[in-house]
Amino acid sequence: MTARAGEAGTGGVLRIELRRSGAYLLGGLLAVLGAVLVVTSQAPLDPYGLWSSSWAAAMRVLSETSIVLGPLAAAGAAWTAGREGRRHLGELLATTPRPVLARQQTTWAAIALGVVAGTLGVAGVLVAGIAPGLSYSGGRWPLALLLAVLGVLACSAVGFAAGRLIRGRLVAPGVGVLLYVLNGYLGYLTGPSARLSPLALVSQLPSQEGYELDGWSAAGAAIWLLAVTATAVLLAGSRRLAALVPALLAAVSAAALVTTPATGDSPLWLQPDEQALEQVCTDDAPQVCVQRVHAGLLQDVTPPARELLARVQDFLPVDRIAEVPYGQQAPPGTLAMADLQGRSRFLRPGMDHPGQVVDDTVSRLTSYMCEGPELDAAGQQPYLTLDVAHALLTGELLLSSADPTAVEALITRLEEDPAAARAWMARFLPAAADCDVATLVDLARP
């Protein structure tokens, strides 16, 4: 006699589906692929992809990664949904009393559990990456995590419906590619049509330190994604009439999302988070301040920041240095420090290259983006001043300009005469800020 079989309840069948529908495999694949993508988008594997130390950065990476996770989930779900057709089970299943919807829901539930577990696995890697350097947990970022999971889930539901309703082995890869292209297209829209970007199921989430998700936008996005999911699952369950209800809800929420204006100058869906931008400062002078969201980096950044401040004080009337968001003016008496976003270590507290903040701060202070016929006529001459200014402010020679000999000569002359150096810098900084090419050319003369 065979061992007693499991009960034929929905829970038992769900467990069977989890084992046999490929849900475990799909979840594992999403988790591993997602983890590889997020880790390789972090230094040292990707020197330009720094994302640790804040929820906003982690959620940005999760959102970007979901442009791959969503279509993959859709393709996996479509493949599972198409198994009845591939295995010629349609006729036999049609003779069973349990409604098609119940059957399809149970299969999709298994897929959904796999998809959610896989996406949360990726989120887990991200959270583990940011946790050691995390200083601020406000900003409603868990909502972004929820929306990212719902987005991947919605993709899987769309794929499931496609696999169920359309016959063919190419449906699974086809729906994956289609969703990838569609989400990517919506995400990269610019100009007025960019208002359609929130309709992308994945990779549509904005995230920026110093901002928080707008509650209404997040709610609208959640309704949109849930309505798309419900519509797809009902269609897969052969409930076309019932699917009209969530389809209508999806249409209404989509309309609300694309017509909701942004808050002030904030990116769509975001609103300023003043608490995240509050200054956290050293107790002793000279004062070094960072934003609350980067408070964990204050200890590491303080020594090089003070060193820089000491040199800059020779040229500018500043007595403190503070992190100021890019594009904003520092208050009087304060040197604007470069943004610390994404500068913390991965999986460890602190930062690896605090000196880089000094270079970036100086670059921000001295670099200029000028254009026009006057600058074209001047050739490379004005750019010599960049190396000179950098050397005066940091004590390090860059020699990146076209005429290093001229730069060295100028630096030597100015270092020998501090008063001349101060006068040079006093002319340079406003000229760089105002793109005064004539003055910059004059300052470049040895």
């Binding site: 295995r87 003779t95 069973t96």
Partner: protein, 294 residues
């Protein structure tokens, strides 16, 4: 001896279209089924009457006779174009009653599909759930169905590891898991080896004690050894419904005038000869009816 009652399928002799009808088994009245649409439309079943009660009923007929279409109608997969189908006293054209019929129905289609990654036990459990067999006894029902088809020692094996005959038995297990009152088996012995066929026929006889079992087959031996009654179909019409003994008695009509067997048919069984005689007579009769029109 008459070999043909009524080419319309509404037989008048020897219980044509009516066999041990209980009123609770299967009643088919004036059934016609048209498959396809437009130019591709094809009448697969024409004006068919059947009344099948408890017992094992064989559906015999050549390829294209309409056996599988009739089975699919009884399985509630294909709707009737005309006529009425009642099963277990319920009208299958009504959604609510059809669902109740499905709870009490077992079906093994001609082409049996399965999920290869499922184990036998998981597959049967899955179908028990689909047939709304639930509660504390469902696990025992699954085990009993698997044991009944002789797959107890393979219950934990994946479906993809089973031989063709074992797959057929697993298919039968899913059909039996809800202890059906009507069991429809389309070519159930296809793919079984001789020993498995003997076991299978014994199982059919056992099931036929309290279940309406309808077996569609082109293997006359299945009918001879397992079926109590036989319905012969040709070109979508019921040729005759009778007991297997009555079918065997028609063998005389298949012999030469001197009583000897036709050349090449010396080793045929009486049921095979009776079946051939019935079909030949039916076709001759149909041709006679066609001639005046021509």
């Amino acid at each position: 001896m008459s070999t043909h009652d009524d080419s319309s399928g509404r037989g008048t002799g020897a219980g044509a279209g009516v066999g041990a009808g209980s009123g609770e088994g299967v009643q088919v009245c004036g059934l016609s089924v048209v498959l396809g649409r437009g130019r591709r439309a094809r009448r697969a079943v024409s004006d068919l009457d059947l009344d099948l009660g408890v017992g094992v009923h064989g559906l015999l007929g050549p390829n294209g006779a309409g056996k599988t279409t009739l089975m699919r109608v009884l399985a509630t997969v294909v709707p009737a174009t005309h006529g009425q189908v009642r099963m277990l006293g319920l009208d299958v054209s009504e959604a609510r009653e059809r669902r109740e019929v499905r709870r009490r129905l077992g079906y093994l289609p001609q082409t049996f599909g399965y999920y290869p990654r499922f184990t036998v036990e998981e597959f049967v459990t899955y179908f028990a759930w689909l047939k709304e067999v639930s509660g504390p006894g469902s696990g025992a029902a699954v085990a009993r169905a698997i044991e009944r088809v002789g797959l107890g020692d393979r219950a934990k094996d994946r479906m993809k590891t089973l031989s063709g005959g074992m797959l057929r038995r697993a298919g039968l297990a899913q059909a039996l898991v809800n202890e059906p009152e009507v069991l429809l088996l389309d070519e159930p012995t296809a793919g079984l080896d001789p020993e498995q066929r003997l076991d299978f026929r014994a199982l059919l006889r056992e099931l036929g004690v309290d279940t309406t079992v309808v077996v569609s087959t082109h293997l006359v031996e299945d009918v001879a050894s397992a079926c109590t009654r036989v319905s012969v179909l040709d070109t979508g019409r019921l040729v005759r419904s009778c007991t297997r003994e009555e079918l065997a008695n028609l063998a005389d009509d298949h012999s030469e005038p001197d009583g000897s067997a036709r050349p090449g048919h010396e080793h045929a069984s009486p049921i095979e000869l009776g079946y051939s005689a019935l079909l030949r007579s039916h076709r001759e009769h149909a041709a006679e009816l066609e001639e005046p029109r021509g």
